[in-house]
């Protein structure tokens, strides 16, 4: 990525309900070009959608900056994007879903937000004029996420995002968690901004998914909650579960022991004894699992990045004496700010790489 030959690389993972790729390119490249961004498009394609590739050939033969990376079966969306990002030549990255989610005209604003200092800018579909069914689903996701996103991010799952490449490099994201990149990046200490973007007219209709999709999302949210809250302290999670189970079971056992002692009622034929023992052993098992987790965390503590230092980035600001309406200055990669930034990057990474 050192020889940046584009301002922006647009990465499009073709993994679900794709629309014709050439049309996507036409629609989304126009406003970016109009805003003065020199951009390339990289489609990361799953084998089941390989049939969508041939129509792009016409565009490429006309000189459109389009690249296609094909993957085998079973590669996750996150991994596909990471490969695409590693091959991208843009100074900044934009990710788009392979369908029209927000209006194409909103994308340059995201890129500008990143140029002005954010690490990741995520589109928030707003105002929501699409079907109530879609809105309810977004709402449900955010309710499930609870306090993880509350007050800061309103549309975590929107796939339209602009970012510095290092956000994707340095945020520990894998599997299906790409969906929650804004939350993970924020957690990592990156500056994440939301940009209100109008919903695309093509995405207005209500859409339901199969039951399996909702189940997977639920598991994702569960896993994410655990990862964000307890990765550093698994014993607090497992210990809580274990002690609640153990205490409930223990109280049952104490109760029937007291009854045996004072009410002369034997233990031998009381099924509640079995339940009590079961709960106690289950509690011990949960705590044992927590201990394993804690041991792994402890053993690897010296190798995991514990914190990120803030970067002092000189933001291009438009002062009052600037010409009104001047187009945003696109700084070349070798500008002073970029050099400072790179040095800071090196300092930060050296810092942790030493481990």
């Amino acid at each position: 990525m050192s020889d940046a030959s584009h301002d922006v690389s647009v990465l499009i993972p073709v993994v679900e309900r794709p629309e014709p790729l050439a049309a996507l390119y036409d629609e989304f490249s126009t406003p970016l070009h109009a805003a003065g961004f020199d951009c390339e498009f990289i489609f990361a394609v799953q084998p089941s959608y390989a049939g969508l590739i041939p129509p792009l050939k016409t565009l490429v033969s006309q000189g459109a900056p389009i690249r296609v990376i094909e993957f085998g079966h079973g590669v996750s969306e996150t991994a596909m994007l990471k490969v695409a990002a590693a091959n991208a030549s843009g100074r900044l990255l934009v990710t788009l879903p392979a369908y029209r989610q927000v209006e194409a005209g909103a994308v340059p604003a995201l890129v500008r937000q990143v140029e002005e200092g954010a690490d990741l800018a995520v589109a928030r579909r707003w105002p929501r004029r699409d079907s109530l069914i879609n809105r309810l689903q977004s709402r449900a996701l955010h309710i499930a996420l609870g306090s993880l996103a509350r007050g800061r991010l309103h549309d975590v799952a929107c796939g339209v995002r602009a970012m510095r490449p290092k956000v994707l490099d340095e945020t520990r994201v894998y599997g299906d968690f790409f969906r929650f990149l804004p939350l993970l990046a924020q957690r990592e200490g990156f500056v994440v901004e939301e940009v209100a973007s109008p919903v695309h007219p093509a995405a207005m209709r209500g859409r339901m998914y199969g039951a399996g999709t909702y189940l997977r999302r639920l598991l994702d949210v569960f896993g994410l909650t655990f990862l964000l809250r307890f990765t550093d302290k698994p014993l607090r999670f497992f210990g809580l579960i274990g002690s609640v189970l153990g205490i409930v079971g223990g109280l049952m056992l104490i109760a029937i022991l007291l009854e045996r002692q004072f009410a002369n009622r034997g233990l031998a034929n009381r099924p509640i004894l079995l339940l009590g023992v079961l709960l106690v052993t289950l509690g011990i098992q949960a705590i044992a699992l927590g201990l394993i987790g804690e041991m792994i965390v402890h053993l690897h503590a010296s190798r995991r990045p514990l914190y990120r230092l803030r970067e002092r980035r000189r933001r291009p600001r438009f002062e009052a004496n600037d010409t009104v309406g001047a187009p945003p200055v696109v700084e070349p990669a070798t500008s002073e700010a970029a050099v400072i930034e790179r040095e800071l990057d090196i300092a930060t990474s050296r810092h942790r790489d030493a481990g």
Binding site: G189, G239, A268, N269, P271, L273, L274, L309, G355
Partner: protein
């Protein structure tokens, strides 16, 4: 923060050098002492703190002061940068967000260039005039010197009582003889810090962790303590449960970090004992010795549950050994500090 393999090779280290802090004005010369102070929303306290450290240490050491900002939302960072501009011995480290005291301290330790590192609270309750005494004690041949607050100026019920209980527990369980784990004023040798990795909320158990993972020799001296003048305390009672959980963790880690199978093995033996108790009951009942226990079918079932738990714990113990081995292979072994005594 990691230590290169060469660093941790030999167990025998040279006898502790006299600190030999050069009596030079600070400059490009080697820094001998780093004072690490995590600050979070302490805008009122930053400037007085820098002054206090400056007047306490003067020109006697070649020191640096690291202010680690833990994502403050007030003017702390601006004040800190002001101080750094007027005094080149002050450095500001900004974390990208609010991570917590442990992470802020580790960031300071990672950035510190001194051979000796002193950590301190940012609320002026510790007194930097105690630093020379800590260093003198360190010089007697210790790897970590902790301060304990002689006349603690805090609220009785919400601060002192929980702290007393926690310290008693920590002391009894970890066997590290420190009476005040909550006091941040501590001095460390570089090599102690190089062998430790803080995480989660482990700053409270730093001496125990240093003893367990670095093999540090630890002692303590009394230090001054002042009442808070500016700002508000960032602690609350809610931390007690967390401390208990962490205490449990650190205990088990300090006892069993080299032999996890033993821990789980003990659990399995205990579990088998319970199984035996229930099995005896079952035999008595089902053999018809006692008529009132003739249909004691729950007893063998309960005994089996304990047997299952024993098997499970043994398997988890084996898994722990695998995890330990994997980590050792990836990291290279970090051997503890050993100091050769000249006889």
């Amino acid at each position: 923060m990691g230590v290169s393999p060469q660093d941790c090779g030999p167990i025998h280290h040279p006898a502790p050098r006299a600190l030999a802090l050069p009596l030079l004005p600070a400059g490009e010369a080697m820094i001998s002492l780093s004072v690490v102070v995590p600050v979070y929303n302490e805008e009122e306290n930053v400037a007085p703190l820098v002054d206090a450290v400056g007047s306490a240490l003067g020109d006697s050491y070649n020191w640096e002061l690291l202010l680690v900002d833990d994502g403050s939302r007030d003017g702390t960072v601006a004040r800190a940068h002001q101080c750094a501009q007027t005094d080149h011995r002050v450095r500001v480290i900004e974390l990208a967000r609010n991570y917590g005291q442990t992470q802020a301290m580790q960031a300071g330790f990672d950035e510190a260039r001194g051979d000796v590192v002193v950590s301190m609270d940012g609320d002026l309750q510790n007194d930097p005039r105690d630093i020379p005494r800590l260093l003198a004690k360190l010089d007697e041949g210790y790897d970590l010197v902790a301060g304990y607050r002689l006349k603690r100026q805090d609220k009785f019920f919400t601060r002192k009582v929980p702290s007393w209980v926690a310290n008693r527990l920590i002391r009894a369980i970890t066997q590290v003889d420190i009476r005040d784990n909550g006091c941040s004023l501590k001095a460390y040798r570089r090599r102690t810090l190089d062998r430790m990795a803080l995480y989660s909320d482990m700053h409270r158990f730093l001496p125990a962790l240093a003893a367990a993972t670095a093999g540090a020799r630890i002692t303590e001296i009394p230090v001054r303590h002042h009442a808070r003048k500016h700002g508000v305390s960032k602690y609350g009672l809610s931390r007690i449960l967390k401390i208990l959980a962490d205490l449990f963790t650190i205990t088990l880690i300090s006892w069993f970090r080299e032999r996890p199978l033993m821990l789980f093995g003990f659990g399995a033996i205990g579990s088998l004992t319970m199984a035996l108790v229930f099995a005896v009951g079952a035999v008595i009942g089902l053999s018809g010795v006692r008529e009132d226990m003739a249909d004691a079918y729950v007893l063998p079932a309960a005994a089996l549950l304990w047997v299952v738990l024993a098997g499970y714990l043994l398997m988890v113990g084996l898994l722990a050994e695998v995890a330990l081995r994997q980590a050792r292979e990836a990291d290279g072994e970090l051997l503890p500090i050993g100091t050769e005594r000249t006889l």
